[in-house]
Symmetry: C2
DNA sequence: GACAGCCTACCTATCAGAAGGTAGGCATAT
DNA sequence: ATATGCCTACCTTCTGATAGGTAGGCTGTC
């Protein structure tokens, strides 16, 4: 509880749930005020401008993502298991509508109209995620569990892009199961059969 | 020239170029009016509501996509060549910023806040594109040029998702070449080497 | 050929509501 | 007594949308 009050947390949580629905321009301070139960002006007290709110929101999202990756790293040592834990996490989120899509994937599509500060956070998330995936894939290859046809970083970019695209498909078809379905043939190729 | 005046065409073209920048809520009638050189009210004369404009815009986009697929089908008979023509098309569009992202991929991310009529068009595009990709992949497999590990339709969903995700990555990194780079390892796996 | 009737395309003017944001007041807690 | 958290009350600008009007072009009828 180092720098965040309860209300500020509520505002961020609410903004996140609204932003995954319709993006940066898809929600307003009034929407948040209605849900959290305070006035518009009070949100400005915590986050002077919308850009501050969203930058903080994405920064916190990234922190949680880091924690998630660390948790996977510490709970499972098997690279294939780690990959499955990652995709399984999203499969669950999308299925139960906890988080129907990755905040940064959605914001990436709107980058040209996003405040610079937010763009930097989104870009940093892409870099961090693909970097982690690259280490997992590389270790899997070294252990003979994963079959790569390109350098780990390139394979990681493919993997991340597929995950993001699968999120779009699940949304477009309005079929949560489409996420796992679109991903399956890639996992089938990556994972060495025995 | 069956049902569209010059001005109406201009409005649609302008709206499309604006929508790929920032999505449904990322542009306004005022923006279009400024570019096309008419008044806001005149746009309402052609398209009573914003939903009408965007539905028409996406419908036309889909028609062009159909023509594009037909053109690829008629100019090249080789499935691998057809796949490369498709990805190459987007590679060019993204590189020269003609169309930095697929209209429907972008709109898919905002589906929960889109008018129903628009959602139906976007969904139809996803279905049509994946269906076409499935036929290409299937024929490639039959000819021994493409290596599938799942049914053609499932592989098509993977391929489409990867293309869309790669568009997001190109945008997030602000590196057009990331589109082709993210796609390469998948093409490497799909295309049978000899 | 002239008139009426109707259509298309655009205009000005205006609207109500929502947007993000500001100024200043009043409690409570430290 | 100073800072925090939230409030009321505004403001400005933008949003999609409407009303009502004008100019010009067809078409049919007398």
């Amino acid at each position: 509880m180092r720098n965040a009050s309860k209300t500020s947390d509520d505002i961020l949580a609410c903004a996140r749930s609204l932003i995954v629905i319709g993006g940066y321009n898809g929600f307003s301070y009034a929407d948040i005020a209605g849900v959290v139960g305070i006035r518009k002006a009070s949100i400005h007290h915590h986050f002077p401008a919308k850009a501050d709110l969203v930058r903080t929101l994405v920064a916190r999202y990234r922190e949680e993502a880091r924690e998630g990756m660390a948790a996977i790293e510490s709970h499972r040592s098997d690279p294939v298991e780690q990959l499955r834990a990652y995709t399984g996490y999203w499969e669950t989120c999308i299925a139960d509508a906890t988080a129907p899509i990755c905040v940064c994937a959605l914001l990436a599509s709107e980058i040209p109209i996003l405040p610079d500060e937010v763009v930097l956070e989104v870009r940093a998330h892409f870099r961090a995620l693909s970097a982690w995936l690259a280490t997992v894939l590389e270790r899997g290859e070294q252990m003979g569990q994963i079959d790569l046809v390109a350098p780990p970083q390139a394979e990681a970019e493919l993997f991340m892009a597929t995950v993001h695209g699968a999120m779009l498909s699940a949304r477009a078809y309005d079929k949560p199961e489409m996420f796992g379905a679109a991903l399956a043939p890639l996992l089938g190729r990556l994972i060495v059969q025995n």
